[in-house]
């Protein structure tokens, strides 16, 4: 079981990517708890036990700030590659997540 948090600007577009990852995880029989949020909710949400934080490419200018907060909690944080941030990117995103299984 892995807990993954995905952050975008308002938590809307990441919800679409979450669905793609869930479908892929089900296909590969991997247990995953995944949630999408907007940047504003990050400070509160990071308090919960996440194993990995993924950041949407369109807010990469906020990555350094988010990274500082994630580091304080010792949670790994990575950027999502632009080409994977789509409903068809589930497979590649799962590869990115699997490194932390």
């Amino acid at each position: 079981m892995i807990n993954v948090l995905i952050i975008c600007s308002g938590g809307m577009s990441s919800a679409i990517v979450v669905n793609a990852i869930k479908t892929e995880a089900a296909k590969e029989n991997i247990e995953i708890n995944i949630k999408s949020i907007g940047t504003g909710e990050f400070t509160n949400e990071i308090e919960n036990n996440w194993d990995l934080v993924l950041v949407a490419p369109q807010i990469r200018h906020r990555f350094d700030n988010l990274k500082m907060e994630a580091k304080e909690k010792d949670i790994p944080i990575e950027l999502i590659l632009p080409q994977n941030y789509s409903p068809l990117g589930g497979e590649n995103l799962m590869e990115q997540i699997k490194k932390y299984l």
Binding site: C8, S9, M12, S13, I16, V17, G40, T43, A56, P57, Q58, I59, R60, H61, R62, N65, P82, Q83, N84, Y85, S86, P87, L88, G89
Partner: protein
């Protein structure tokens, strides 16, 4: 082309994105973010007070209209007061100061900076107008001043020193007294004793900027910056909004007040709803037209992407198509992405300039389908729906040749793949 994109990204987009993450701008963004649900709810009362159905509107008494408007006046009508709390709260947290006391103090400071000088003679009555949109710039600057002053006084050690044995809560209480007292004293001196009308002064400073944002060139520059940001893969509205949103709020607020008085022609064309509903249809770059083209594409990839993106697109969520197609750093799809929005932006501006379509005065949630959003934003002008449909047709036509060129390129690659298989 690629070099031009790289140059733009390095010299304009990334510095702008970094600016939008600046501590104070971020606090302003959060402060306004906290009250945005209030603005939507307040808008609903405004549209109920002046319903778009003429028969219904005619039969409503003036008293009923005024009563319906009370929630509007207490939400949007006092937005700067609420924002001052939110901005100071958010800024305080970024400095690891206590958020709530700073927020409350910012409200006190803001009210003090805004009340009339003869308030005693008027049995302590102040106009509510100063606490609404016209006070927004004052609220922003006063809240920032409040938190910065507290932070400075605390780090300089301007607090009452207590012995180590005092309980924490007691010490905390006394430590805050001097900074709070000094902030109140400073604003009291400037507003009450020196008699400077802080709000009038600040609004004069910002007036040229507000004016520029409401012009056609200003509008086109903003559309250019939003679309170019997205081509660089950066959230355009989020970045530009962090910088311009206070001005948009001031502008829409003037329209709301005028509309609330029953004015026929509203003063301002530009505010966030203008972009939301008439320009960024289906998301930035008006990609709804492109998604429609993808749905009928001969390329397997574009077709499956179109199917996956049509529903989010209707609700103005288009990251999947921007990153999936991709439009990011793609010279073929990048051109219509920018040009289409500029053209429809200019058409919509002119349509409202000549009052062919009513100017927006309502803030509706941004995930509504564009024709519905546009209808609500203009307080029920059916011509707004027509304008949106025209804009969708225009952007689709502009996308078409570029879509065809890109499709051809992808078809070649897809055929190559099946051959090698």
């Amino acid at each position: 082309m690629e070099k031009l994109f790289q140059w733009l990204e390095k010299t304009i987009i990334l510095p702008m994105a970094r600016l939008s993450e600046q501590r104070h701008l971020k606090a302003i963004r959060n402060g306004i973010g906290y009250i945005s649900p209030l603005i939507v709810v307040g808008s609903i009362f405004l549209i109920i007070a002046y319903p778009p159905i003429p028969k219904l509107a005619e039969n409503m008494s003036l008293e009923l209209v005024e009563n319906i408007l009370i929630p509007f006046r207490l939400t949007i009508g006092l937005m700067s007061l609420y924002t001052s709390f939110g901005i100071a709260y958010s800024l305080a947290l970024s400095y690891q100061l206590d958020g709530i006391p700073c927020g409350i103090l910012a409200m006190v400071s803001f009210i003090m900076a805004t009340i009339p000088l003869d308030i005693n003679e008027r049995s302590f009555v102040s106009s509510m107008e100063n606490f609404g949109g016209s006070g927004l710039f004052t609220a922003i600057l006063i809240s920032i001043f409040t938190v910065e002053a507290i932070r400075m006084l605390k780090t300089k050690g301007a607090t009452i020193k207590m012995s180590k044995n005092t309980p924490d809560s007691v010490r905390k209480f006394y430590e805050t007294l001097i900074p709070i007292g000094l902030v109140i004293l400073i604003i009291w001196l400037v507003r009450i004793i020196l008699g400077l009308d802080i709000q009038v002064f600040i609004n004069k400073l910002f007036k040229p900027l507000v004016k520029v944002v409401n012009t056609l060139p200003g509008t086109l520059i903003i559309i250019l910056l939003i679309t170019l940001s997205w081509i660089a893969g950066i959230h355009g509205i989020s970045v530009i909004g962090s910088i311009i949103r206070p001005i948009w709020l001031v502008l829409i607020n003037e329209n709301m007040l005028a509309f609330g008085k029953g004015t026929k022609y509203l003063p301002n064309i530009i505010s966030e709803p203008f972009f939301q509903w008439f320009v960024l249809i289906g998301g930035s770059g008006a990609t709804l037209g492109l998604v429609l083209l993808f749905l009928n594409s001969k390329s397997d990839y574009l077709k499956s992407l179109g199917k996956a993106c049509i529903m989010p697109g209707i609700y103005n969520i288009n990251e999947p198509i921007i990153f999936g197609a991709p439009i990011v750093l793609n010279p073929i799809l990048g051109i219509p992405f920018v040009v289409g929005s500029i053209i429809t932006g200019a058409i919509s501006y002119l349509a409202m300039y000549f009052n062919i379509v009513r100017r927006p005065s309502i803030v509706a949630p941004w995930t509504l389908p564009a024709p519905i959003g546009a209808y609500l934003a203009t307080a029920g002008d059916w011509r707004a729906i027509i304008l949106v449909i025209i804009n969708i047709l225009i952007t689709t036509a502009i996308y078409y040749p570029f879509f065809k060129a890109y499709e051809k390129q992808l078809l070649k690659e897809e055929q190559g793949k099946t051959v090698t298989k």
